[in-house]
């Protein structure tokens, strides 16, 4: 299956989903006007990966800011991964946050707390904010 790459912008994440390395990376800001539309190909890719590749999958997420509708879309992604884990798949989510960025850390905790797959929070040094 094909890999998925989306270039980042000031308000949308850089997306790099790789079916050969089984690694999905999302990085940057996420506050598009239409989050559902932005996340749709990401969800479709994951569904296809689960069906066709079905290997242990790692997802790395490093955000600076996400709006409320993007939060909801992350919940959709994690629900897909949760189901995959429960059906015998293996998932690890790494949620990165900058030192002192309680907002992003808490956003991750609230999304991930009930999930059945493995997840870790990883602190990284502060960078210049909002410049993805």
């Amino acid at each position: 299956m094909e890999n998925l790459y989306i270039e980042g912008s000031k308000f949308t994440m850089e997306v790099n989903y790789n079916a050969e390395t089984n690694l999905c990376i999302m990085k940057g800001n996420s506050y598009p006007e239409d989050a559902i539309n932005f996340f749709e190909p990401l969800n479709e890719w994951l569904e296809q990966y689960i069906e066709e590749i079905n290997k242990p999958l790692t997802m790395e997420i490093q955000l600076y800011y996400l709006n409320s509708s993007s939060s909801k879309c992350f919940m959709d992604i994690f629900d897909i991964l949760d189901e995959y884990q429960e059906d015998g798949g293996s998932v690890l989510v790494k949620w990165f946050y900058e030192r002192n960025d309680d907002e992003i850390r808490e956003a991750g905790e609230e999304l991930l707390e009930d999930m059945s797959f493995k997840f870790e929070y990883i602190e990284i040094p502060e960078s210049s904010l909002y410049e993805a």
């Binding site: 000031k10 308000f11 506050y31 598009p32 006007e33 239409d34 989050a35 559902i36 800011y65 709006n67 409320s68 509708s69 939060s71 909801k72 919940m75 002192n100 960025d101 309680d102 907002e103 609230e110 999304l111 904010l129 909002y130």
Partner: protein
């Protein structure tokens, strides 16, 4: 009609422009914008706001401000009744105003909606204003897990996020207009954290 346009209609008197200029009080106005809230404009305004506040050493207030601003502006973008086509997309218009006081900031947004939209917003805001932090947190979770309503681009979570970040209850006012329309305004206060 055009011929009847008199000079004094166009040339505002000093006091008219001054009343507009000082309409948010004579506090330090960080940002004032009225018009179409396209995504491009929203990004520029949000970044400008963040840069203006970047002397905040812990970035905590800046992050909250950025977040509240984006939610307010995207509400206008999505739900304002005053809509225009920009680059093939229908975009809402409205007004946003951010002022700085000694110990806090205020964020005010305004736009036109149908009366019934105001009434349902009022109900939501009243509910949120009665909740404490723990209740807001679990209510947000519930909304994140809930299925979306058909065609709704928002998550129903924006107002909850505003309520959680704001330092005082959310203010919501209404001015009735003709044809079942209302001008509504949100008032958010954000204390400076150090």
């Amino acid at each position: 009609m055009v011929n009847n346009h008199k000079e004094h209609d166009f040339y505002m008197s000093d006091s008219d422009l001054f009343s507009l200029y000082s309409s948010g009080g004579l506090e330090k106005t960080i940002l004032m914008f009225k018009g179409l809230l396209t995504q491009d404009i929203l990004v520029v305004l949000a970044e400008m706001l963040a840069n203006n506040l970047s002397n905040d050493p812990r970035q905590k207030t800046t992050k909250k401000m950025f977040s509240i601003f984006v939610e307010l502006a995207q509400n206008i973008h999505r739900y304002s009744e005053e809509r225009f086509i920009s680059e093939g997309k229908e975009i809402g218009a409205g007004i946003v105003l951010v002022n700085e006081f000694k110990d806090y900031y205020t964020l005010i947004s305004g736009n036109i909606v149908q009366n019934n939209v105001y009434l349902s917003l009022k109900e939501k805001v009243d509910t949120l204003n009665k909740m404490d932090d723990t209740e807001l947190k679990s209510y947000r979770k519930e909304k994140l897990k809930q299925k979306r309503k058909e065609g709704d681009k928002g998550a129903g979570v924006g107002l909850i996020d505003i309520a959680r970040k704001a330092s005082k209850p959310i203010g919501l006012k209404e001015k009735r207009l003709e044809n079942d329309l209302s001008f509504i305004s949100f008032y958010i206060l954000l204390e400076k954290e150090f």
